[in-house]
Symmetry: C2
């Protein structure tokens, strides 16, 4: 048989030039997502040539050594350090490279307004809100690796996106997965969007065990290496709750169509079920370079250095319904999703404070949902303020102060 | 908290009118796929109103009782019976209904040329080739539930589609799944398309056990109720081999990008892996009404009566690499895919004869790949003939005769 075999012609590589010519700004380049973004860009240059994905600007808050190293390797036009006291060191370190430099909070926001096609928002926490809005307001492709700003200021973001026509591409693995699966399709034909949750380190723990859980146990996430805050959110399932709220804002899905399922292997990231009985899903090895590469090349695909999924090697995927009794944060988030207005802002603020307090060993693990619930029950909510950034930020501050008080009383 | 809950507005049902007004012709309406198609249409009429999905024509080969019942319920303009000896009975049974009637092979082909927007080709085996081509040649949306004609005459189909601009939507669950996941996207950015196989009833059997397998054991498929021929193909994994060939023709994917994986639960139907590390998948409960509803409404989605997938209830999905030593048919199909030309035609013809011979207890289960391989090694192949329907049909006849001889010698 083999003597007769004729080789069929291979299909040529698609012309990716329009995508590869996009200038990229990376806000928060020295954090985990920022470092992965630069590795995707470096890989693209190896594969497609040194002109691929020119970098307009890199910004970092205080990690000057890594920023300098990145700037020398990736050659941005501009490097910004958020901490102004580090300006002189940055200047010295990049002298003679031709790279512009700047420092301070305003310089970080200004970096977002520079004329790049894509802005990767990899700054953590509420500090990302203003730079992300600056990029959205000028109509950029905004790769958003920050869920807090969508949860806290979702209505503000939605309005800004509607005004400018910016394209937001979520980089968070679950939301990037939903974005890929929906693929611009009609969300109205969707019956359900299910986000998967690993279940965290306490998936099989009893309530009594969880009551005594230490910060060290909570941050030991089984599948992903992440920061302490998000690891605790994963252990409480609040992370999934925040992601459901994020999905609500990003994809204009009604709350009753959003669900979560426990999937310990973290291989399937989302499931979108349609009216005809079809369910489309996104799977990958747990590697953030996959959603990053997707966001940088959308609507095309570039080759990434990500680990590839080998399902035969994985062997088994399991799924179970979440236990709302042991993981009360998920239910609190769903309540806030249904309430709308400023409830998600308060949820997010109270959770940040409660997690910080837990990480400092001031409150117990099971106190986290209690602090959040009490803050939600007590905080003033002028929901009309959810439409303005000032209103959201004021509510966020009030909720943090209140949650702090509750933590002190609890601890 | 609940006192403050505000209900958000639900999103309105999308306007599906253009899709629901499509006229549908069902070729082979009394077989399993035909019956399911009519149940999807009946369900759509319940949900969207009695005008939804008007039926232009129904055809059946010989099952006149079911055809009459279907015609009275679904009210096609035309009902055709392939077996001419049944013409008078059809005429009597539908007298006074206003439904046109016809009989004979040519009338079945003529039904495909009637002006419906969609033609469901649910005729089994090579008998579907001419009616399917008639529908393709007039540029219809062709929902194709027949893999043999694509495998046997793939190049002929590809040329006819290119000429007329017909849209072929595969209904076979795996190919419908690929169609949905690729979603018109760029196949060039695809690294791999993986079809799942249940592994059939002999997934865990030893070679010695398989050698003694009876037809009754081979047709006992674990997940799907199917005809005897396709059940045996599932037991040999030839079904997956034929599907890989079908995918090659339907999606213009190079052979080296096509793969199969064993997945006993038959929940995941395909996996499409991209250059950036993303894998998109299609999942559903094993219910053919899902791909049928998809094909009837594409590119929109209508509500189907299909069973919905409940992953928490399924609990576990497993995957393993196929064993080419025990399931040699898969390797033979992959060889034919790489050879191209008339090799797939011969493979398909020899397999049909070998399976028939096995079902008649003339040859053993492990003789099936032997007969196919010997036919492939012996049959004359003028590959230039793969481009013409006559060439394909002549090759098919020669291969069947040759395989029949080999079976007699083997038995």
């Amino acid at each position: 048989m083999n003597a007769l075999a004729a080789t069929r012609k291979h299909i040529e590589l698609p012309d990716l030039s329009p995508v590869l010519e996009r200038r990229v700004t990376v806000l928060g380049s020295t954090g985990s997502i920022g470092v992965s973004t630069l590795s995707v860009i470096a890989h693209a240059r190896e594969i497609y040539g040194p002109q691929a994905l020119p970098v307009e600007a890199l910004t970092a808050q205080s990690n000057i050594d890594v920023l300098v190293e990145q700037a020398r390797a990736i050659r941005p036009k501009l490097a910004v350090i958020g901490d102004e006291t580090l300006f002189a060191r940055l200047k010295d370190a990049l002298a003679g490279t031709g790279i512009e430099i700047a420092a301070g909070r305003d310089a970080v926001i200004a970096a977002a307004t520079r004329p790049s096609e894509t802005v990767m928002v990899a700054i953590m926490g509420a500090a990302a809100i203003e730079p992300a809005l600056a990029a959205i307001e000028r109509g950029a492709i905004v790769a958003l690796a920050n869920k807090e700003c969508v949860v806290a200021a979702g209505d503000v973001f939605r309005r800004a996106i509607a005004r400018s026509g910016a394209q937001v591409i979520p980089v968070d693995s679950e939301h990037n997965a939903i974005f890929q699966v929906l693929n611009g399709g009609d969300a109205e034909e969707v019956e359900r969007v299910t986000l998967t949750a690993s279940g965290g380190p306490f998936r099989e723990w009893s309530l009594a065990q969880m009551r005594a859980a230490t910060p060290g146990q909570a941050v030991a996430h089984p599948n992903w290496a992440m920061g302490a805050k998000i690891s605790v959110d994963s252990a409480t399932l609040m992370n999934k709750g925040l992601e459901l709220i994020e999905a609500y804002f990003l994809f204009a899905l009604p709350p009753e169509k959003l669900a979560a399922i426990i999937h310990p292997q973290s291989v399937v990231h989302c499931l979108v079920s349609y009216a005809d009985g079809s369910t489309l899903a996104h799977l990958s090895a747990p590697d953030m370079r996959t959603p990053i590469a997707h966001a940088l090349a959308w609507p095309r695909r570039i080759t990434s250095p990500s680990r590839r999924l080998d399902l035969a090697a994985v062997g088994q995927l399991t799924f179970q319904a979440p236990d709302h009794d042991r993981f009360r944060c998920l239910g609190l988030a769903l309540d806030c999703l249904r309430m709308g207005g400023l409830a998600p802002t308060i949820l997010n603020a109270a959770n940040e404070i409660a997690v910080e307090s837990f990480l400092g060993s001031h409150i117990g693990f099971l106190d986290i949902p209690r602090v959040v619930e009490e803050t939600l029950n007590t905080a003033q909510r002028a929901n009309a303020e959810a439409d303005s950034l000032e209103g959201v930020l004021a509510c966020d501050r009030r909720a943090r102060a209140l949650a702090g008080e509750i933590c002190r009383r609890t601890g």
